[in-house]
Amino acid sequence: MAKRVGMEVAIAAAEAVGLCNIDVAAVYPITPQSHMAEHLSELVADGRIDAEFITVESEHSSISAVAGASATGARAYTATSSQGLMYMHEILPIVSAMRLPVAMGIANRAVSGPLNILNDHSDIMPQRDCGWIALFVENGQEAVDLTIQSFKIAEHPDIMLPCCVNIDGFQLTHMVEPIEFPDQKLVNKFLPPRKPYATLHPDKPVSMGTFAMSDIFPEAMKAKDEALKSSKKTILKIWDEWEKLFGRRYRPVETYRADDADILLMTMGSMGETAEIAVDELREKGVSVGLIKLRLWRPFPFEEFKAAVRKAKTLIVTDRAVSFGGPGGPVSTEVRSALYDENERPAIYSYIIGLGGRDVAVTDFVTIVEEAAQAGEKRTVKDYEFYGVRG
């Protein structure tokens, strides 16, 4: 096993990008900033990576610039969070429609109103329907691994879609964690140079991003949906390859002591590790509880998710964003929809938790699970609850 080093996760993610032989990076330091962009610029400045580093004047331009670079055949990367991601929003569905394999790191943070900058998932959730592959990581090691994987996933000839890696802002990006960096030679083996399907070059002129009316637009939308859905099987193969080379296994839905559990907790992102401790504590007290962690948000892994919750009586879904005036949180909405047609399905409790950087401790998960356990199936199921919120 390679040596582990202690490193801030945002910097580690940038180091991971540095292993990927990128050609172009474009970044903008919209508040909130993470060290991903800064460290990437250091890698370029020190000549450790041979890439064009474009210090654009906005996030709208950073996503536009990496789209342009990707269209020339370059391997292109950008990083953002919160307001910056919201500012990119207009361009995100165009990048996926054009099948440009851009990789993006997102330090997930709350979207303003009021200005907050701390961690939750309210930035990525409005981008849900933009046609990007969306991965979530739980710790620094996963941030490194999935950042490297995101290029391979995006560029794979059977996928060709942009891919974002969601790394919880502050809770992960600003933490120092032990990281085992993959060997450069192995990364080169895993991630060979990009072989683009079509590029902007005079030797073979193509028109990209053409205009489409109602005679072809719906077909283009269907094609994008099918591309995203069918990407899952290739992602699984890529994860198998990763496991063979680096020994760490990744699945669309990760489980922890979940096989025989009556009650299942469900998390996405960095809360998973805290929830694991809560599960251990509760198991010691004799509560039949387990944990499932959603890694692959888009495409949503229906099959794996259903298999993971099949035997449970209760499913407690935690959301870190709100669909205002709607059914609660985006994850629980997705989960309810996924299970609606199942003959046997768990009772679903939906909690909105940890908004705007509010801490979610082990005791909070214990409280939630104990409430559910005591109530059993008799408990009145509310659509959703804001956990621990005054007023």
Binding site: E52, E57, S61, G68, A71, T72, I91, M98, S207, T210
Partner: protein, 325 residues
Amino acid sequence: MNIIENFDLYAPRLVDKKEYVSPGHRACQGCGEVLALRLMCKALGPDVVIANATGCMEIISSMYPYTAWEVPWIHVAFENAASLGSGVEAGLKALRRKKKIPDRDIKTVAVAGDGGTMDIGLQALSGAMERGHDMLFVCLDNEAYMNTGIQRSSGTPMGAATTTSPSGKVSMGQQTWKKNVTEIMVAHGVPYVATASPSYPLDFMNKVKKAMKVKGPAYIHCHTVCPTGWRSASEITIKLGRLVVETGMFPLYEVEDGKYRMTVEVDELRPIEDYLKPQGRFRHLTPDQIEMIQERIYQEYNKLLDKVNGLHAWSDLKYDWGLFE
């Protein structure tokens, strides 16, 4: 100096016969903008990548599954031609340096209309020019949002009626002066900045060729007549493009390394009525209002002449300590 009169004589030898914006596109009859695009591409030749903003030229040239483009072309959105072009330029540069594409010059050219340049695209343009990408940006300015139905932009001239600056009982139409983005580009220190018009094709193409040779950013602001939006007869497009120059409303000049030069000299400016009258968008203007516009044209023209006559090339300017003794 009327280059155009001898155009038939010289054109076969001077102009590339190959069409890079091929016929069959959907532009309106008499469209000055697509003519500018066609001439621009002839001057550029094949070794280019075009980054096109959303707008008339994108819509008329790229209706899926057809394309009018014989050169590599990309469109992403309305306001980002300059940032898209930045990425294209950076991508080509990195790939060439890393020997992933053949080792030869390929020019990145970003194209946008007046809205995509002067309004919603100004930030991206400013950023790209400031960063100094090896990229030519061409604004095809037809002085309103024509693609969406003739709404005013900051490029719309004073007094022009558009669908969002209509003339009425208490309004003369557009009530602001045209934003001078050419000067804003000069202020960015862009090494080659020029104004142009497809009514002066050789002048325009020469400027495009000059801009291509610049290793760094270049900007051309091209005045393009829109018969549909201006309510002018389609057969007078070329004539209107010349009248706007001959009246001094849109002088053709270039700023090379900070040095201003008139590329089309006008001995005596024609009265502005000559340009305004054939256009429906100005039909409502009163003599007083026309006089006001005339005054402004003289003022702006003289400001420009001052720069042409007075300003030095940047490279000639040395810091003169003697000034402070």
